[in-house]
């Protein structure tokens, strides 16, 4: 076992997979010699050679298009989009090509790629370095969408994603790359080394896609969260005094519907939290699923705590970010309703 922060865990996952499978290639903007702007691919080019881990032109649509061709050949590209906010030029390739290739060719061709990209707020990144784009991909038939919330899961999920024969959008909550963040921005920053989930094996292991994890057992209300918001929700549960059951979805799609329904049927109440804008966010889908499957167990309206429906404002980071105060208030309202 080793102690890893999330960047080290992701790096270790790619290191393991480059070592195990010669068909795994890693590329993206600045990922080669430099090792990526967040250092996730540091040292990999030196260890495995130029052609295993290399820089690409600044052309997100181009590098995904190239990855489709590589996937069709039989390789397993792992590509980095430097920020999720930059993924839009590749949207046509992802939606029309990556997601549908297996279907439209009746299984003749597939594009088994992993698209890693840092997402989310809490870093004063402004509109173009803070967005949460998950709903743009959970809406697309043929994609899997994964969001880890800690180093152990990050490594195990990334290995699963690379090995998966379907394309995976792997969203990395960049605020928690270097330490867990519960939304209390005014408190000292904690490193991952103080957190039990920073313990991870140095070698190969997997965390299966499609399985949620209960982070805190509780009886009063179910909280559905992912990424940074898992830590915010855990803090809110402690601070509100509400005995919340916090579920880390880990895979957004296909979501672990059994874990969700089992918990909500037990607690009868549900709060959904995400950083992304509220309207047509992934929380809307979760809310609908819970309503469809748990309606007769519900004792209170389902609440969503989400980013406001504005572009991400630079100077108002903490008014925008759905911090523990907002989540705690929602927990109380829902528990007392």
């Amino acid at each position: 076992m080793a102690t890893m922060n999330m960047i080290q865990a992701l790096n270790s996952a790619m290191d393991v997979m480059l070592g195990r499978d010669p068909d795994v290639l890693i590329f993206g903007e600045d990922v080669g010699f430099f090792g990526g702007v967040f250092r996730a691919t540091e040292g990999l080019q030196k260890k495995y050679g130029l052609e295993r881990c290399f820089d690409t032109p600044i052309a997100e649509g181009g590098l995904i298009g190239v990855a489709v061709g590589m996937g069709a050949y039989g390789l397993r590209p792992v590509v980095e989009i430097q920020f999720a906010d930059y993924i839009y030029p590749a949207y046509d390739q992802i939606v029309s090509e990556v997601a549908r290739l297996r279907y439209r060719s009746a299984g003749q061709f597939c594009a088994p790629m992993t698209i890693r990209t840092p997402y989310g707020g809490g870093i004063f990144g402004g509109q173009t370095h803070s967005q949460s784009v998950e709903a743009l991909f959970t809406h697309v038939a043929g994609l899997k969408v994964v969001v880890p919330s800690n180093p152990y899961d990050a490594k195990g999920l990334l290995i699963s994603a690379i090995e998966d024969d379907d394309p995976v959008i792997f969203l990395e909550p960049k605020r928690i790359y270097n330490g867990p963040f519960d939304g209390h921005h005014d408190r000292p920053i904690l490193p991952w080394s103080k957190h039990p989930a920073s313990e991870a094996p140095e070698g190969y292991y997997t965390v299966p896609l499609g399985e949620a994890r209960t982070m805190r057992a509780g009886s009063a209300v179910t909280v559905l969260a992912y990424g940074t918001m898992v830590h915010v929700a855990l803090a809110a549960a402690e601070e509100s005094g509400v005995d919340a059951e916090v579920i880390d979805l880990r895979t957004l799609w296909p979501v672990d519907i059994e874990a969700i329904t089992a918990s909500v049927r037990k607690t009868g109440r549900c709060v959904i939290v995400h950083e992304a804008t509220r309207t047509s966010g992934f929380g809307a889908e979760l809310s609908a699923l819970v309503q469809e499957r748990c309606f007769y167990h519900l004792e209170a309206p389902i609440e969503r705590v989400a980013g406001w429906d504005t572009p991400y404002p630079h100077a108002f980071e903490w008014e925008y970010f759905p911090g523990p105060g907002r989540v705690a208030a929602a927990l109380k309202r829902t528990a007392e309703a």
Partner: protein, 431 residues
């Protein structure tokens, strides 16, 4: 006389200064490009740069791209007006190979004619012919190895036909019937055959161009010998994917043959809407540091020779070549299009580069390996071949009648294994 007057009036209307401008003669004016001729106007091919057959030099395959820039503005032609093969690009193809090429082009045209009629008879929703452009796909398929991977558009059906893909399977796809290899999931003509080295055709134009470069990079990474070929229309060269493909191909020296099929028309927009009409599409390669060849796309020998040059160069690890095939879309964009609305009806017949089938036929006759009688007999035989295939395909059903693919398969292949929500939705549909 009438049409000339109308042309003059329209050109005058095009160049006038906006009356409302307070700047008068010094005012800026916005240019909206227009083709030389619209319906009812005099034909004018003045934009078309031609070279004499045999006049363009053939450089060695390892020539530096910077020494090849003139080729982007010339036009490689092998067949002269009498059907003789002339000049340094004239390939050494045995008469049997030329006859196979002629047969593949004729079969493609016969196939198109039948499927067009099938659409008109309501047997399917949609069809796209490649009439007038057959030499591009057929000539290139002959210059590529059988296991090189093709990333075509919807107008290179000649690739599948030249590679011997069963006509019945093509028809099954067009008819979306019970034997459709793509299980009724794709619009007609968006074929896919991994076995025959033809990548799944997308309806989103241009996406295949960078994908082909990725496939070629993969082949190079694996140290294999296979190369990729991709096609894009003149209109779609305006998409970002074209730029991505050329950028990545140049940066990573991808073993690919990148083809622009300039058939003059993107639905109703002439080629001057996709880029400046004075700059050949081939010349775009220059800025990327890639070699470019501009070829008479209706001259099968020229298409074959240019492609063979680019294939040899790619396989020698010297990277990609951009080839512009100058041709003409002799019929509508698709069964949903009526070209008489936007271009002169006589333009196709008057196209200065002629018809690819007629030109190869003329060549074969001129060298003594073919005759009108043999040609007529072959035409009859191919029409019969297509008719028989059509009957067989229709026995497996069509879009709106007879057997269809199993509806349960609608939920398959979205993912490798159907997740819970698709299993549930399949149950909801009751299949």
């Amino acid at each position: 006389m009438t049409s000339t007057r109308r042309t003059d009036a329209r050109r005058k209307a095009r160049s006038r200064t906006p009356a409302a401008s307070p700047h008068g003669a010094n005012a800026l004016s916005l240019r909206i490009p227009e083709p030389k001729a619209r319906p009812g106007e005099m034909l004018d091919f003045g934009n078309l740069r031609l070279s004499e057959a045999g006049s363009v030099t053939r450089p060695p395959i390892d020539a530096a791209a910077r020494d090849l820039r003139d080729l982007a503005f010339a036009l490689i032609r092998v067949l002269d007006k009498d059907g003789r093969a002339v000049g340094p690009w004239a390939p050494t193809l045995a008469p049997d190979a030329l006859k196979r090429a002629l047969e593949a082009m004729m079969l493609t045209r016969a196939f198109d004619d039948r499927m067009y009629r099938a659409q008109r008879q309501g047997k399917t929703s949609f069809y796209m012919k490649c009439a007038g452009e057959e030499a591009v796909a057929v000539g290139q398929a002959m210059a590529l190895e059988r296991d090189d991977m093709c990333f075509p558009t919807y107008r290179q059906q000649g690739l599948l036909i030249t590679r011997g893909y069963p006509l019945v399977d093509m028809m099954n796809q067009v008819l979306s019937n019970a034997h459709d290899p793509l299980k009724g999931r794709q619009l007609p003509v968006l074929y896919s055959s991994r076995e025959y080295g033809v990548f799944s055709i997308s309806g989103n134009l241009g996406t295949q161009f960078s994908q082909a470069v990725g496939w070629a990079m993969a082949s190079a990474y694996k140290g294999a010998r296979r190369i990729a070929a991709a096609w894009i229309g003149d209109g779609s060269t305006a998409e970002g994917d074209f730029h991505h493909a050329l950028t990545f191909a140049a940066v990573y020296r991808a073993p690919a043959v990148l083809n622009v099929v300039n058939n003059q028309w993107a639905i109703s927009s002439f080629h001057g809407i996709a880029g400046d009409a004075d700059a050949p599409f081939a010349s775009r390669a220059i800025g990327y540091g890639l070699p470019a060849l501009r070829v008479d796309g209706n001259d099968l020998l020229a298409v074959y020779a240019a492609t063979a040059w680019a294939v040899e160069r790619a396989r020698a690890n010297l990277g990609a070549t951009l080839i512009e095939h100058v041709t003409y879309r002799a019929e509508g964009h698709s069964t949903s299009d009526d070209p008489s609305q936007y271009r002169p009806a006589e333009e196709a017949a008057a196209w200065p580069l002629g018809d690819p089938i007629r030109r190869l036929k003329q060549h074969l006759i001129s060298v003594g390996h073919w005759s009108e009688e043999e040609h007529g007999a072959l035409e009859k035989k191919l029409i019969e071949t297509v008719r028989a295939a059509g009957k067989e395909a229709e026995s497996h059903g069509a879009l709106n009648s007879g057997s269809r693919p199993s509806i349960a398969t609608m939920f398959e292949d979205v993912y490798k294994h159907p997740p819970w929500h698709l299993r549930e939705q399949r149950q909801q549909l009751g299949v």
